[in-house]
């Protein structure tokens, strides 16, 4: 058996577990019908589990990191009747190389009566070893990842994404799901098309975030290299600069509002329909190309200043130093 190096401990297939999985955050089917709960544990075989891939287009996924070595899965299936419940499948593929893949789907076929997608759901609550990297793809369900140490690649089409207390590189992308990233210590790349991005306590090397029609709000951002871009949404950022850091905040139509806790010298350039540089305005100079330049703090030969670039073609640009 090629996949035998990972032992699967089935502690269940049961109904009505005493500890219920997380309640679904997206609307439940209007007719609750039948609910089946089950638990499963995947023990590592020869090699520790280092990657977990999840595809669940039918509901929510919540992943919690913990200090153990196995993956514990609590599932909750919901369907209007027995036949519909039987169509809902959770497939688990543990590979010998230490990767585990979980996918959900609904069986099809002409023998089944038509079953609307809004009538069924599968929610998963997963406890995974902290050092496993997470790859997850959802549809309209909410995706939540907490307390992990190896980052992940997380995507939804319209469901919200929440990442909290995660180390390692994190990449998130959603068409219209609001994204919240909190306490991430690693590079972050977040992208939405028409949803807001909320960033709080980001301490990695790089932070790149963009939204077409959403806003971006960042607080306690300490990444060395920051790029925030929107087309129509506002951007609010409260950040801390580091030496030789770079911070580029740009919008086409949205206002840009940046508050900075300064460490060392900073060099600012800004351009917008209206620019207010606060205390940096005292020594500001406007160039012919429309950019306003300013510098705060002394630059010596050994330390280059942090570079700040703020722009909004049609919006306001505001800048302030937090003393």
């Amino acid at each position: 058996m090629s996949r035998g190096s990972l032992a699967i401990v089935c502690a269940l297939a049961g109904v009505a577990a005493a500890e219920a999985p997380a309640q679904p955050t997206t609307p439940a089917p209007s007719n609750p019908g039948l609910i089946e709960r089950s638990r499963l544990e995947v023990q590592p075989g020869g090699r520790a589990i280092h990657q977990l891939s999840i595809e669940n287009p039918l509901g929510d996924v919540k992943i919690e990191g913990y200090d153990g070595t196995s993956i514990q899965i609590e599932s909750r299936k919901q369907a209007p009747d027995e036949e519909a419940l039987d169509r809902l499948r959770i497939s688990l593929v543990p590979n010998p190389d230490g990767t585990v893949r979980i996918t959900t789907t609904a069986d099809g076929g002409k023998e089944f009566k038509t079953l609307g997608r809004s009538q069924v759901r599968i929610d998963l609550l997963i406890r995974a070893p902290r050092d496993a990297r997470i790859t997850a793809a959802l549809s309209a369900g909410s995706l939540e990842v907490n307390n992990m140490d190896a980052g992940g690649d997380l995507g939804t089409s319209s469901g919200p994404i929440s990442v909290r207390n995660v180390s390692g590189g994190v990449s998130t992308h959603s068409v219209s799901g609001a994204t919240s990233i909190t306490q991430v210590f690693g590079s972050v790349d977040a992208q939405t098309i028409s949803a807001n991005l909320d960033l709080d306590t980001i301490g990695g090397e790089r932070l790149i975030a963009s939204a077409n029609r959403g806003q971006i709000a960042g607080r306690r951002v300490r990444a060395r290299d920051v790029e925030l871009t929107t087309v129509t949404g506002k951007i609010f950022l409260e950040a801390e600069t580091s030496l030789r850091g770079r911070l580029v905040v740009s919008s086409l139509r949205g206002d840009v509002d940046v508050k900075l806790r300064r460490q060392g010298a900073i060099s600012i350039r800004a351009r917008g329909s209206k620019v207010n540089l606060g205390s940096a305005a005292a020594n500001a100079k406007t160039q012919q190309d429309g950019w306003i330049y300013s510098q705060l703090g002394q630059v010596n030969g050994t330390s280059a200043p942090a570079l700040i670039e703020l722009r909004s073609r049609y919006g306001l640009v505001q800048f302030a130093i937090i003393e």
Binding site: S30, P57, L58, R87, T105, A106, D107, G108, G109, K110, F112, T114, L115, G116, R117, S118, Q119, V120, A137, S139, G155, S157, H173, V175, S176, Q191, I193, S194, I208, S210, N212, E227, T229, T230, V231, V248, S250, S251, L252, R311, R313
Partner: protein, 245 residues
């Protein structure tokens, strides 16, 4: 069953939509009737051929053209006086409004007439207007609501899941086309060199999208194009995608 009865059912038969009994009758007729069998064979061949046609994506200029025409219409609309805009909005619905008014007036008339009649048809001395409408209509309305809710025409979950990746990809495609239209607005401020570099990079990223596998790889390629377009449109960062790497 005659040929005239079978022919209209052939499409349903080929789609597997007939119930077992009717399907069996059509199958039996096809075994005996060469003419109908030929019609069925031709239709099946036509459908197979249609299925094998390549999928054609609309050119990017199409959306830009649609947007340009919409913008022209908006400008023309904005230039007209307010009273003409209001009249233009109201005129198309005028016939419906008139019909609705007529129906409402008739209903009020009937209710008034009924309220004036006693149980034996005479004009009542003490009308009971509230009992007429509310009591019987309430359950009927809730019944209607239930029928609508369960008969939404939602596709089967399996088919819906199969189309999921395509829908997400299409959303990214729409966002990219929107950004391309915006790029069209700002590219006048770029140098000739920037415009050439932009076009070349967009073509390269589109090539990556076209060659990417369906699903997540193609969506990732669209996201790369979107990032590049955002940087170009918002920051005039033309040459490189992903923030100047």
């Amino acid at each position: 069953m005659s040929c005239e009865d079978v022919r209209p059912r052939l499409t349903g038969y080929l789609d597997g939509e007939l119930d077992a009994d009717r399907g069996s009758v059509v199958r039996g007729h096809l075994r005996e009737c060469a003419a109908c069998r030929q019609v069925a064979t031709d239709e099946a061949a036509l459908r197979d051929g249609l299925r094998q046609l390549p999928h054609v994506d609309p050119p990017p200029s199409l959306w830009a053209g649609v947007q340009a025409r919409l913008a022209e219409a908006e400008v023309a609309d904005a230039r007209r006086p307010a009273w003409r805009r209001a009249l233009t909005r109201w005129l198309p619905s005028a016939p419906r409004f008139a019909a609705g008014t007529l129906v409402a007036a008739t209903a009020v008339g009937v209710l008034w007439w009924r309220s004036q009649r006693g149980p034996d048809g005479d004009v009542a001395t003490q009308p009971e207007p509230t009992a007429i409408a509310t009591a019987p209509t309430t359950p009927r309305m809730s019944q209607t609501h239930v029928v609508v809710a369960s008969d939404r025409g939602e596709p089967d979950v399996t088919a819906d899941l199969a189309g999921e990746a395509g829908r997400v990809t299409a959303s990214y495609g729409d966002a990219a086309e929107e950004l391309l239209a915006l790029a069209g607005e700002v590219r006048g401020q770029w140098t000739e060199e920037q415009r050439t570099a932009f076009d070349a990079r967009v073509a390269e990223l589109r090539g990556t999208i076209a060659s990417a596998a369906d699903g997540h790889p193609r969506q990732r390629a669209w996201r790369d194009l979107i990032r590049y377009l955002q940087n170009a449109v918002v920051r005039d960062e033309i040459a490189f995608a992903g923030g100047g790497q």
